[in-house]
């Protein structure tokens, strides 16, 4: 985290939030005063050193805000007289999206599990299992020998035996009880009981008409600042409830030569820095899945062989009014 502030005709504050930064180097690339520097992203990603991903030379920064406008991941922000430039009409804006349509969501949790950035807030409230089953269970305590076989085998952990030394002299004397909120009337206890002390009647099928369809409620939403628009969630969603628009369109490739080859498992720098979980090492070579790559470029800077190439064809950064800003921001579309 750094903060540069200066008061002149306007009061400008530039802040970098390392928590949202992915070390892609987009800000470094567009900075016209060369005031930003990308840190050693591979050792940082591996947890070998504790450093900020980006640092700034305060003395040369002119607080223009190009870096803040170009950062698609909300890590940099420029505030002019108390207002963020993302809210000012004459500044560029990222026309990107990451949203879960809760009307379609079935709360299956697949997006939450797949998200590489922990960017999804997820909660779900499942019905009680007792509302989905019907039946009866009786335990004849006079015949129970407290062998605990039913307790150990009950798949829903609904049977409890308790030894109470205040009441019983022998540890063999217990009390046995069934938690009817948990019992599913499966009959395992009845079948395992060596004394025939348990009776279970399952009527779930015969009374199925009376059992209402379960209602599953919950919450699922994406925290914009943590999301890197990788589309993992969108791809794993079985009901098309998620819309993601990536910041760039284009291609990423690795071109090996006779002299320089991908070192695969020996290196895996690209995989370590990828915020999208888009890189896999297959047969000792790095493979980038274009489906999940957000074309951020972190791996390009990380590759010690310099054999990764990024060719962004278009970007979702809109409303670039100034010609000089356009010139600097278009650097993001240059081939590396």
């Amino acid at each position: 985290m750094f903060k540069v502030e200066r008061k002149g005709e306007e009061f400008r504050i530039l802040t970098h939030n390392n928590e949202y930064c992915i070390g892609c180097g987009i800000c470094v690339k567009v900075c016209p005063s060369k005031s930003l520097r990308l840190g050693p992203i591979v050792p940082i990603a591996r947890g070998l050193i504790d450093m900020e991903l980006v640092s700034i030379n305060e003395a040369t920064c002119v607080l223009c805000g190009l870096c803040a406008a170009a950062c698609p991941f909300n890590s940099l922000s420029l505030i002019i007289n108390g207002e963020s430039i993302t809210k000012l009409s004459n500044y560029p804006k990222w026309d990107i999206l990451s949203i879960i349509n809760e009307e379609k969501c079935i709360y299956c949790k697949r997006c939450y599990i797949a998200c590489p950035r922990e960017a999804i807030i997820f909660e779900r409230y499942l019905p009680n299992s007792k509302d989905l089953v019907r039946g009866q269970i009786f335990i004849d305590e006079d015949n129970c020998i407290y062998c605990r076989m039913c307790e150990e085998m009950c798949p829903s952990q609904a049977i409890f035996l308790k030894y109470d030394n205040e009441y019983f002299q022998s540890k063999l004397d217990n009390t046995i009880s069934v938690n009817r909120d948990k019992c599913i009337y499966c009959g395992v206890c009845k079948r395992i009981c060596p004394e025939g002390a348990i009776k279970v009647i399952c009527s779930t099928c015969t009374e199925s008409d009376e059992i209402k369809d379960p209602i599953i409620e919950g919450k699922a939403y994406i925290i914009d600042n943590n999301c890197v628009n990788c589309t993992w969630c969108m791809n794993v969603c079985p009901v098309d409830a998620i819309d993601i628009v990536k910041p760039f369109k284009g291609i990423i490739e690795m071109i090996e030569t006779e002299e320089v080859k991908c070192k695969g498992d020996a290196c895996h720098a690209c995989k370590d820095v990828c915020p999208c979980n888009a890189v896999e090492i297959i047969d000792n070579k790095a493979f980038t899945d274009p489906e999940f790559c957000n074309l951020c470029g972190a791996c390009i800077n990380a590759c010690p062989q310099h054999i990764r190439y990024l060719n962004r064809k278009s970007m979702q950064l809109k409303n670039i009014e100034s010609l000089s800003w356009k010139e600097y921001l278009n650097k993001l579309l240059e081939k590396n």
Binding site: P40, V42, P43, R46, I49, A266, C267
Partner: protein
């Protein structure tokens, strides 16, 4: 091909701003700490160049 270390530039772990980052980043065990210094085990080097790229003193280069 392996790497070489410029002894004048190298911080020899004690004076390295990142306390021997090359040793930590080399997963092949080709750079090890010995007698408070960095030792190269050439046979283990896989030419991944991670040490060259990440040395804070730019003391490592191709041999």
């Amino acid at each position: 091909m392996v790497v070489k270390i410029d002894q004048d530039l190298c911080g020899h772990i004690d004076n390295c701003p990142m306390n021997g980052l090359c040793v930590k980043i080399c997963e092949q065990g080709a750079l090890i700490e010995e007698d408070n210094d960095v030792k190269i085990i050439s046979e283990k080097c896989d030419d991944c160049n991670l040490c060259i790229q990440n040395c804070p003193n730019q003391a490592i280069s191709k041999a």
